[in-house]
Each structure stands twice: as structure tokens, then as C-alpha cells.
Subunit: 344 residues, 4 copies
């Protein structure tokens, strides 16, 4: 099966290339960018010098003729425009931006301050949280690949919500991300001398992933309260940790809680529930598609602490996109993705 990548030279794009180069069934057929067509891939990406690919312009019809799937690794605000051109063609679309995730256009416009994608397309898009929506994904042609923070948060919270332990409770998600999440665009925030040896909070109470998390939690729990969600930049390139605090509706223990998670995630090879009393650090999933989760029950406060880590560019972007492609095409979920984290 053939795939094409639009936005091939961004961080999401090159990570798709890294995995797809070793995928047993999906072959990269073409790479596309808006501004660098005609150049060689490696001119912009010295690490890919062993590849000879040329960058091509974005021609949806031509792409649809040669590929079965197109990955849109384009920024928010761009995907929403491209999607219209692809949606009538015979090609499946996996969009890595935030443009197709929110079902309510008004919500999108409120949080993203941009024009939403056409409503009839948003309606067709399935939210690609692979471990939880595989059924829908399988029957879809447009996948809205989840955001990096929502992936970490939702996989960490899901067992409590789907199993009925969390109801009408508030959730606090204190999230931390490596800097690659901010992409390749230059800004003073991500200038090396400003970001190195620094720890920053940003978009306090205003991150556009808030409605995305709430939308999915709301599907699991009808009486969801507004969540508290904050994001920080860590002086490292990759990795997300979501540290989450929540009250559950029963007396429990750390061991019982851990059992719940282990049971729920049985059969999901990319979620690794940690041994009792151990908590993940971001580096243990570096470069891989794993989501590692540790849990604790604090008897002093009656609160549950959940620690969920992913690599923001893999499980939080390109890796989950390929996992969705695998599901979509009826392949094994782990095809091309079953590699160990890079350590140290």
C-alpha cells in the first residue's frame, strides 16, 4: 500500500518518514511541501541524506491517484483548507493537525482563533485515539489524529472514566512537554539561550487542547465538570508527562487501582502499565510509540495521582498516525511501530 505525506519536512513529517522507512506494508510514494517543492528532502533535513527523495508540490488529485493514504502533517489552519480538496477523492486522510478534532466549529474558532473546517467534513472525521476508538477508525476515511497532550492525558484518565470510577469530579492535568512540540517555526520562546536551563509555563488555562480533552471525556462521562489543564515547556526536545489529580467515587488502594489499569489495557501493546509503586519518566518511551502509566492512591487526601508519559512526536503525533493507518488498512496495529525506545 502506498502513502503520501503532505508537510514532509516538519517535525511530524520527518518522524513519519523515519517509521515508514521501516514499515513492512506501507511504502512512501511521495513527499509534499508547500514551499520547497523541487528540492531534495535532505537539503532541509541533513539526517535523511541516505534518501534520494524529491519534494513535490501539493496536488491532491495526483496524490490520490498514486496513494491509498495521505498524511497531513500540516499546521492548524492549513489542514482545514487542504481537507476539502482531498475529501472528494478516493484516498484516506489522516490529519495530524488540530483542525478536525473538535466536533463543534464554534469551539474550534474560540480556542484556535481560526476559521473551522467545513462542517460536513468535521462530521465525517473520527477521533483517532487508537486504543479507544479502533472500531470507528476502521470504518472511517478521515482520521483526526489526537493532539500530543490529549493522548497522554486521555490514555491516563480513560480507565477511571470508562469504568465509572470518575463521575462529576474535577480533574487537574498538569502537563509538561519537550520543546519539539512547538514545531520548527522560530520564536523567542524556543530560542536556545532562552529555553535552555529554563522551565516555562505557557497559555495558562487557555491551551487549545482543553476542549479536545473535554470532548472525549464527555463521551465517557455525561456529567463531566470543566477540567483544569496547564502546560509547561521542559528544556528537552522530546517527551510529555501529564501528572493528573482526580478524586474517585470509592475507597481504593494503589494496588487495586493498578489492577484496574492493567485489566483495562490488556491486549493494548503500546500501553505499559508500570509495576506497583513505580512511575514512568519521559525518557523511557523516547522515540517509541509507547504510553507508560503509573498510578497511586493517596490515603491522606483521597486523591488519585496518575502519571502518563509519551514521546510527543511518536505516540503524540506520527506514531499514533501510523497506528491509525494500520487499523484503517486492517494491518496489525504494531506494524512498523514495534521498536524499542532509544536509551539512554
Amino acid at each position: 500500500m502506498n502513502v503520501s505525506i503532505v508537510g514532509a519536512t516538519g517535525y511530524g513529517g520527518v518522524e513519519l518518514i523515519r517509521f515508514l522507512n521501516n514499515h513492512p506494508h506501507l511504502k512512501i510514494k511521495s513527499l509534499h511541501t508547500s514551499s520547497q517543492s523541487g528540492r531534495s528532502l535532505y537539503e532541509e533535513n541533513a539526517h535523511l541524506m541516505h534518501m534520494n527523495d524529491k519534494l513535490e508540490e501539493i496536488d491532491p488529485e495526483a496524490i490520490a491517484k498514486k496513494s491509498d493514504i495521505v498524511f497531513l502533517a500540516t499546521p492548524s489552519g492549513v489542514s482545514s483548507q487542504l481537507i476539502s480538496e482531498f475529501s472528494d477523492l478516493n484516498i484516506k486522510v489522516i490529519d495530524l493537525s488540530g483542525d478536525l478534532r473538535l466536533q463543534t466549529p464554534g469551539e474550534y474558532e474560540h480556542w484556535y482563533k481560526k476559521t473551522a473546517a467545513p462542517h460536513h467534513i468535521i462530521e465525517k472525521a473520527v477521533y483517532g485515539l487508537a486504543e479507544w476508538n479502533a472500531e470507528e477508525i476502521r470504518q472511517s476515511t478521515i482520521i483526526a489524529n489526537p493532539g500530543c497532550y490529549p493522548t497522554a492525558a486521555l490514555l491516563g484518565l480513560a480507565p477511571l472514566f470508562t469504568e465509572g470510577w470518575a463521575t462529576a469530579t474535577d480533574v487537574i492535568i498538569d502537563a509538561k512537554s519537550g520543546v519539539s512540540g512547538a514545531g520548527k517555526s522560530l520564536s523567542s520562546v524556543t530560542h536556545y539561550s532562552e529555553m535552555n536551563e529554563n522551565f516555562k509555563i505557557y497559555k495558562v488555562n487557555q491551551h487549545q487542547h482543553i476542549p479536545e480533552i473535554e470532548q472525549q471525556l464527555g463521551r465517557w462521562s455525561s456529567d463531566l465538570q470543566p477540567i483544569t489543564f496547564n502546560t509547561h515547556l521542559v528544556p528537552m526536545t522530546r517527551g510529555i508527562m501529564a501528572t493528573m489529580y482526580i478524586k474517585v467515587n470509592r475507597q481504593t488502594s494503589t494496588a487495586e487501582l493498578r489492577d484496574l489499569y492493567e485489566t483495562v489495557y490488556e491486549g493494548h501493546p503500546f500501553v505499559r502499565v508500570q509495576p506497583l509503586d513505580r512511575f514512568p519518566s519521559t525518557k523511557q518511551v523516547y522515540g517509541s510509540n509507547f504510553c507508560d502509566i503509573g498510578v497511586a492512591y493517596d490515603e491522606r487526601t483521597g486523591k488519585v495521582t496518575i502519571v502518563s508519559v509519551i514521546d510527543n512526536l511518536v505516540k503524540g503525533a506520527a506514531g499514533q498516525a501510523i497506528q491509525n493507518a494500520n487499523i484503517l488498512m486492517g494491518l496489525e496495529e504494531t506494524a512498523g511501530l514495534w521498536s524499542s525506545p532509544l536509551y539512554p
Copy 2:
């Protein structure tokens, strides 16, 4: 006035030396260590090669004869033993360890898993949260210098508790620290290749600073609930950020909240309340004694977010210790400490 430092070669010790070298009134009279007496200071600390000081053994009587103040920059479990030897001598003691902070020996033993200091000494020790306890500090001879995390957290929470905005509410403190907080002792956690490009959570719900924070909050609020407090290691050397979530007992706005903080901290030069809608990052206090605080009121959730940053080795250790020494000796609070952060 003369001062001596016990534990002069640890991270707290050399930071005391850095500031005291430029202090207008306090002069370093002698430096002491348990294991390296007789050696030159710079053999262990190449950065101090411009100093000729020798390290001496720890002889409390000799120290008390030549100095007015002794700083104990020793680890927990060591200070509790040294303190007895110093407490009958005519010298003021500022202890940077956790040994004298908890008023209840049982609490200390529960959280530190070590033998507590003698009760009659603990009773005499004043908790040196400089901005809040100056009166008591002035009249004391033994100062328990606050922990790094508690300093960041308490300065951030104080206005809400002292002004009656926070009562019988739960507090969530999600704290992040640079690695120097773990000190100079080698461990696999702080081995470079393990810690670099990594973000770790540790001591989940079990950090020994929990009772220290609760003890001080409890002085301000009689109906305090147990707090939630978690700590993370950031791949950087210095800096702490405490991100805090709390419900207040009134409707408010970010502007009103900020005004409260500005009013409360007027006249406290080391606390810099940030401009409206701006939040501090750790590097903006790097190497300085400042505590920078930003606040927000989230209308969606009704929760207050407080972001407080310090340099863990300065305001969180050596800097606040000197600030306490200044108060103790009737000097200007800022003497020797009024230097700008290192940036970038």
C-alpha cells in the same frame, strides 16, 4: 560580623560563599567540613581558585569563639546532631537542613525516617520564612531555614491564606525542580545520561516537604485540609517552579487577585509579583534571591492558578539563609543579596 560555614563544599555551602564574598557586613571567618579538613577549598571546587581558604574540622567551641553566626549547610540527619553542640554556645545558628523545621518529632521521624533533633532545641528554632516570620526571626538564636519547595509554595500561597481567601479548601501543588536540589551525592537518578533529556517524577505523595508546608499553612488557617504535593526533576541545574491549583471562597478575577498579591508583597523587595497575565519562568530568577509570582483566575473552573518560581540554591537555600542572617543581625534585608539574575 563574622560567620562560619559548616558543610562548606556542598552546593549550599559554595553558594553561601559566593554571596558572602560580596557581603558588606558579614565576613567569612572559617569553613568547615567533616571529611576534607586540611585541604584547600579550591581542590574540591575549582571555581573558587581565587580564594586561598583552608577547610577546617568541625569544632563548635572554636567556631563559637570566632564567629557570630554559623551556617549549617549539612544534610538532614547531620544537623540534628551538630545542633546540640552549638546550642549551648554563644553563637547564632542558621540550619539549612530539614532537621529543625518540623515542630513535632514524630512527624520528622515519619517523613524523614531518621531520629529527630532534641525536642527542647526544636522548640527554640524559628521557621525562617523571611517574608512572613521576620518578627520571630529577629528574636531568635536558632533559625530553621525553609526547604526549597516550601519556600516557593508558601510564598505563592500565603496571600490567599493570610487574607482569608482560602479556607478549608484543598490545595494541589505540582512542583518541578532543577537537579542541583538533589545535592552532590552520586546516584543513578542524577547520572547525566539518565537525567539529561528526561523528566522524572519522584517520591509520589511522599515528599518530606509535605508536612513542612502543611505546618506553616496550618498556622495561617485553622481548618486546613491535607495538601496534595508532588515533585519532579527537570533536566536543568537550577530553578523551581510550583504550579498550584486552589479554590478560593469568593468570586474574583485575575486582576483583583493580582492586586491582592501586589498589596500583600509591597515592601518585600525579593518577591516580584508579575504584570497582569504574565507568568514567570525559572530562568528569570537564576542565581538570585527573587521569588517571582504570577496568578490567574480560571472562570471556567472557578480555580486559582498560582505560579511561583525561585532559584532553589538561592531563595530556596543559601540566599534565604543570608536574608535570615541579615534580619537576625539587624542589617538591611537585602545586604549582600541585591544582585540581578544571570541571564541568559
Copy 3:
């Protein structure tokens, strides 16, 4: 074909595991350590939690029965002892330590300050510089896998020496390495707070890789002068850059020089000679088996500058070891190794 790894939990060991897990022909049969046998692999290596392997004790006879190749990912001084036990058994050995690299035991003892391996074994060992010694490797049973610095330096210098451009000239190799090269053992040099935001030189003129580089250069050039070689630690985990300065015995230009390199390395997929006037940085080979080389001729001085980068744990250790295994077993040289660098 089956392989076993001795020293499976060190940085070299886990990197072997990472690549072998995706190798089409070599399967990990057993993992061995001296001190942790009986434990699960993931207890020491949380990033490998998706594997169920147990660590076993080191029993050479048992290993030789089940595997075709054993990788010794053990420290110098340990391999020299184990090698005797393996050398009479029907198993091929690839040793990642420095113990079998120097053909003269006296040299080994001078530079390593340890007892050399038995001379008859050293004589059988082939120096596994894969791009240059493939013929000998193919016919051997014991491979001395090259050091990380020598790999970067020798691949960068080889064309000038083998093509007769460098004769009786002095060479200056100024090398820089990420900290993982120092391994997993704790030391104050690699303590995070000491190494972060720091750049260090070490073993000035005394690094044990000096004789290893000279030995190989000496095979190419009979009138080699003693080389100058210095090593530095960079505050990063992975990557080596060797910046080299050498006078060649002819007038040339940067373009001509580059052509030489391109010609010499044609057919060697892991060496990527850079485009004209471009020089590699370490991150462009991160996690991969590539060696990227850039060259320049300085008309002002008549000197050639060569810049060679590798990932010290891959091409400088585990990757080259697997490349040697591939050659040894008659497999394609790139089998299991043809993956793109991790970027960013």
C-alpha cells in the same frame, strides 16, 4: 541465527537489544550479566518493559550451545578474562571493549593499566573497522569492535592515508563526545549538576584510544608520526565529533578533496560524505549507524580540515558490532541497521 549478549544491561548492551529486536536474521537467544542474573531485564531498564526476558548468569559453554555469536558488551578488563573461556568453544565472539584491539600487549598495559588478554587470542582477533577490514572480518571468529573515537577518526582519515595523500605528517584530532561514552558507572564527572551546562576536557594527551588509532593508521602508512589526540565531554548524551587537522602532500581544493572521499566511500552505505561546503553536526546521525563526513581545504594554511560524526553508542559501539556480525555471517551489511536517525 541466534545471538547472546554478555553485559546486557549496560549502555552498549541495551543498544544491541534495541537493534537486534528488529533484525531480520539475528535473534536474541539469551541475555547475561555478572551481577543481576535471575532478575527481569526491565527491572533495570524500564524502557524495555515490553520485553519479558530474564537475565542469566554467564556460562560460556551453555551460551556456545545455543548461540552462533556472542557479543561481549563488558568493560575493559572483563572481556580479557571472558575471552579465554569463549575462545575454545564453537561460537563467534564480538568484543565491544578495548581488550582485544591492541596487538601489542605491552601497549595495552601501558595505556589501560590492566593485564592484557592472552597473546594467542589477541593474535586471532581482527580489528572490526567494518568499512575497511571486511575481508579479514569475514574469515575471523573473534572481532575486536573498534572504539567510538577511533571509529570517527579513522573513517575520517582513511581516504587520505589509503590513497597516499597523507605521509609522514602530523595529525591533530580534537574529539568531542556525548556523556554516554563514559558508561553507566557513577562518577562526579558525570553527575548531572557538574556536567550540565559544562564542557570538559579529559585525559589530556593520555587517552587509551591513541594507540588504537595509531595502530590502524600505521597499517596504512609506514612512516606515521605520533598523533595528537584529545577528548572532551559535551553536555549531551550521544554523539561524537572528531575535528581533524592534517597537512597533505599536494596542492588541492575542497572540491577535489570531497571527490576523493566520495569515490573512496562509494558502495559503503553507512558513510555519508556531505555535500560541498557542508559539515555534519552530531544530531544528524543520532541513534543511527551512519558516519557523516565533511572536508575542507584551507588555502591560507594549506591544511585539510576533516569533520567526522557518529553516534558513539551505534556506529561507535553496538551498531558497528552488528554490522560486523552481518559481515561475519554473510548477511547484508545493513541488515537490521538501516534505520533513519532520530530527529529532532
Copy 4:
């Protein structure tokens, strides 16, 4: 005495402010920028929030009326224009850019690709290598503050050249710098995700500091050969190490060599010659005006290795500028600069 700073918000500017805030004799009278006049200093520099200064426009006449010295912390190409306006006024100028360092305008234009400053002004400018040119500095009104790399390199090489040990020999300077040397302007090279966990070489054989180093060495040695000089970026914010290789014209030993350095630098408090067989790392001068130097004689090659480290923003920029101001005004050389490095 009053001073003004032009270019107050760049990295050189804020470092001048940091030191001048604690200077006993020099007082900051005004701060100037080309683009942000009217704004508060701290709006651009959150770390300076304790200061109330306003940024002013650049009006040379007004500046000359209120200040005795003006620091030009402006980029190359800007200083050369401003200098004409200041040179007729009654004010001393210390220029931190490269615009006044090269005595031959053609050289400047060749290496900087910009228009040189007026020749009559260049002729009046004294090269402010403080330890070596104090006499001339004292009698001058325009100081060309040395570049960061040249400062590290020249202080390391000076004893060999001024004492006649190095004649007609080639010198190889392999220099490494923290990223702050690249300034505050955004570029993909210094984008966090590109620079972190990376080590880069840049401007191979083409750095504009080459002629600056040669010019000063040429003053000491009439038969100087063209030097080899290369520069690398280290993933850290501050610090420069120059590792230098040179052949001397006599047999010597490391001890004898070290004695030479110690003798030459006696009475120069900012140069700290390291103990025998010890070599400096960059962090031991972090945030300070020290230059630490270690030397070795390699008996195998007959070459001398010199390792020189500075903080590029202090001794390599703002610190040396203030040192020059002190000399210029007849103050103690160390005034306002005698502070310990920040460690760790």
C-alpha cells in the same frame, strides 16, 4: 562616574547591567536601544523586573552630556556608524562589537562583508585585551573590546609568544562556544530543538575572529604563520573553551611550561593558571570574569596543549568591557567584577 549603554537589551547589554548594578564607582545613567525606546527595560527582560529603568532613544549628544563612558553593545555594522557620532564628543567609548578591532579596513570588509568604520577612528581605537594592553588603554578614548574567542585564545597563547617560545610556528585553535555567543537573533541554528543534544561546527576556516587573533599575535611575533582556527557550538548557554596545539622552539616539560604561565600572569587576578596536570572546564568560570588556563607538554609529539576557558558573555564581552572601563578611569581593575562563578 556615569555610564550609558547603547544596545541595552541584548545579551551583552543585560550582562553589563548585571555587573554595573553592583559597581562601586560606575553608575548606570541611561539605557538606549534603537527599536524599543519608551518601553520599560523589564518588558523585554523579565529578569530585571526589580529595576524601573526606561529605555531611551540613541541621542549621542544627550548621552555625552550625562555620561563619562558609553558602552556600545551593538552588533557589528551598527557600531561602525554610531562611532562617528560619538567620536567628536567628550565621552569615552567602549565598543563591544567587532567593528573597531581590525586596523586594516580591507581585512574588516573581507571577513565581515560589511563597510568598515572610518579609518581615522579605527586608528584611534585601542584593542582592549586588558591583561596585555593596559598601558595603551589608559591613554585612549576609544576601546575596541576584544571578541570572545580571541580573548580565550590570546590569553592562552600570549606567554608563549611574548616570551619567545613560539616563533614561526603554526598554531591550531579548536574553539567551542555556548550558544549565547550567537546572540538574541532567531535562527534555525539556534532553535532549541535543533541545537539541543547537538554539537555543531560552523564557519569552517572562515570565522571573522581569525584576523583579530592574527593581528594581535603578529604584534608579539614578527614571523607569525597563518593560524588554523575553528569554532563549534556546544549545547549550553555560556562558556568558551579554546583547545590549542602549538610547537615551541625548545625542549620543555609540563611543569616548566606551567611555571612560565604562572610567572607571566602573576599580578593579573582574573587569569587563574591551573594547578599542575589539571585542566579547566567551562563551568568553573560561569558568570565570572576569570580566564582559567591549563597547559601540558606532550612528550610523544613535542607539542604543547593549552586549554583556556572563559564565560563568553563576561570575560568575552561585558566583563572585559567593564575591566577596560576600570583601567580607563584609573579605578582598580577588579572593581565591580570580583565575584565568584556561579556553581553548580
